[in-house]
Amino acid sequence: VADTDADPTSRRPAGELEADVLAALWAHTEPASANDVQAALGRPLAYTTVATILVRLCEKGMVRRVRAGRGYLYQPVVNESDHLTGQIRRVLARAGDQSAALQGLVDSLSPDEEAQLLAMLHDRRDDEGATEAEPR
């Protein structure tokens, strides 16, 4: 498999590539082609590698494949809700007490901190080019 990983110093295990592809697919709100996924990945990865990983994710039931014209579009599979709450519960149980877990999962900013953070990020925005400042 032609793996054109740009950075040879960082060897990436197979699980990591799968995670990257799955994350890219989730970020794409519509069904995506292998090309879309390839373009969304942070580092250059061969098309064949991306396609292989997508097939593997399909086999694992984490991704659904639909025919579209001559090719395929891929879509992440949403797990059943009870399974999900189970996962979250496990994460919470692992983090120990509930308040710490909540803190670990979601950060609570005071209004002051929020303003401070916005200012810090805004100052940087000028030399970054315009991506939308507000998270959706």
Binding site: V78, I88, D107, E113, M120, P135
Partner: protein, 306 residues
């Protein structure tokens, strides 16, 4: 009799010293060295506290009939030779039992968590939770269960491609660098000496900074800063809409400090600056050794009490 003030001094000043020392260190020192220094100092202080309690509490334990029969000394005689009043020993023994219970609780909670995680192929696995609240979390498998990244769809959809990569790199850094081990050890040290609770918060901050620096290495400092900052802002907005305005401000977020550090040049002071932590470790360690040396004389006392 000198043990008692020594033990108390050790238990009270250790955590203060660790915190004192970590404060000026954290700005310019690489977070990994900060974390290693902090956790080592916490362990020594924790072990010292347990040692100090044992040093004061042993006459009570030695009086328990069963223990006395095991060691074949007379439980009545022990009291006569004990260097500390029995009341003081009893208090220390109670504290010791509380410490051991807390430590057992910490370990069992961690074990239950790992036990509850599903088995699966070794290596990393990404679990996406379809939830609008943006969050990311890593679950360490202790080499026994697979390591997991748990990320919400809300997070993945609110970040751009580079920011997403930064968040994944951040969570991966927690797993790769075994931060769960640091957290467990710190939790045990806090169980041994609850005064170290603030030190643990400092350690948590350093671990986040460590993971941020790794993510910045994979992507860039500004991308990582934006990913961390925007995630926190989106979370704050969500939480406010969910709790209808009354946000639960716990005790200040560490995010502004993390973003600020990422926007500054990278920290460059390395392990050479561990000296401050080393000082705490040496002083606490010396007290611990005094305790151990003193414990030798208990053996003599118990011999005499036969």
């Amino acid at each position: 009799m000198i043990v008692v003030p020594l033990a108390v001094a050790m238990a009270l000043t250790g955590p203060l010293a660790v915190r004192r020392v970590s404060q000026p260190a954290h700005a310019s020192m690489r977070p990994q060295w900060n974390a290693i220094g902090l956790v080592s100092a916490m362990v020594v202080v924790g072990a010292g506290t347990v040692g100090a309690l044992a040093t004061v509490a042993w006459p009570v334990a030695a009086r328990i009939g069963f223990v006395a029969s095991l060691g074949r000394w007379s439980s009545g005689q022990v009291g006569r030779y004990a260097p500390v009043p029995i009341g003081v020993s009893a208090v220390a023994a109670l504290l010791g039992v509380a410490v051991l219970t807390r430590m057992a609780a910490v370990i069992s909670r961690e074990l239950r968590g790992v036990w509850a995680a599903e088995r699966g192929p070794a290596g990393e696995q990404l679990i996406v939770i379809d939830d609008p609240v943006p969050f990311a979390h890593s679950v360490y498998g202790w080499g026994w269960r697979p390591d997991r990244l748990v990320v919400s769809s809300g997070l993945l959809q609110s970040l751009d491609d580079h920011e997403r990569e930064a968040v994944l790199a951040h969570e991966r850094a927690h797993l790769r660098n075994h931060h769960a081990v640091f957290r467990l050890v710190a939790a045990l040290a806090v169980a041994a000496n609850p005064l170290q609770r603030r030190c643990r918060r400092e350690l948590d901050f350093q671990l986040e900074r460590w993971a941020d620096e790794r993510a910045a290495h994979v992507t860039s400092r500004s991308v990582t800063a934006r990913a961390v900052g925007r995630t926190a802002l989106a979370q704050a907005r969500m939480m406010r809409s969910m709790t209808s305005g009354s946000a639960l401000a716990l005790d200040g977020s560490s995010v502004p400090a993390r973003v600020g550090a990422l926007l500054d040049p990278p920290p460059d002071r390395g392990w050479r600056d561990l000296g401050c932590y080393l000082l705490v470790i040496l002083v606490s360690g010396a007290l611990l050794l005094v305790g151990v040396a003193y414990a030798e004389s208990f053996v003599d006392i118990l011999q005499r009490a036969r």
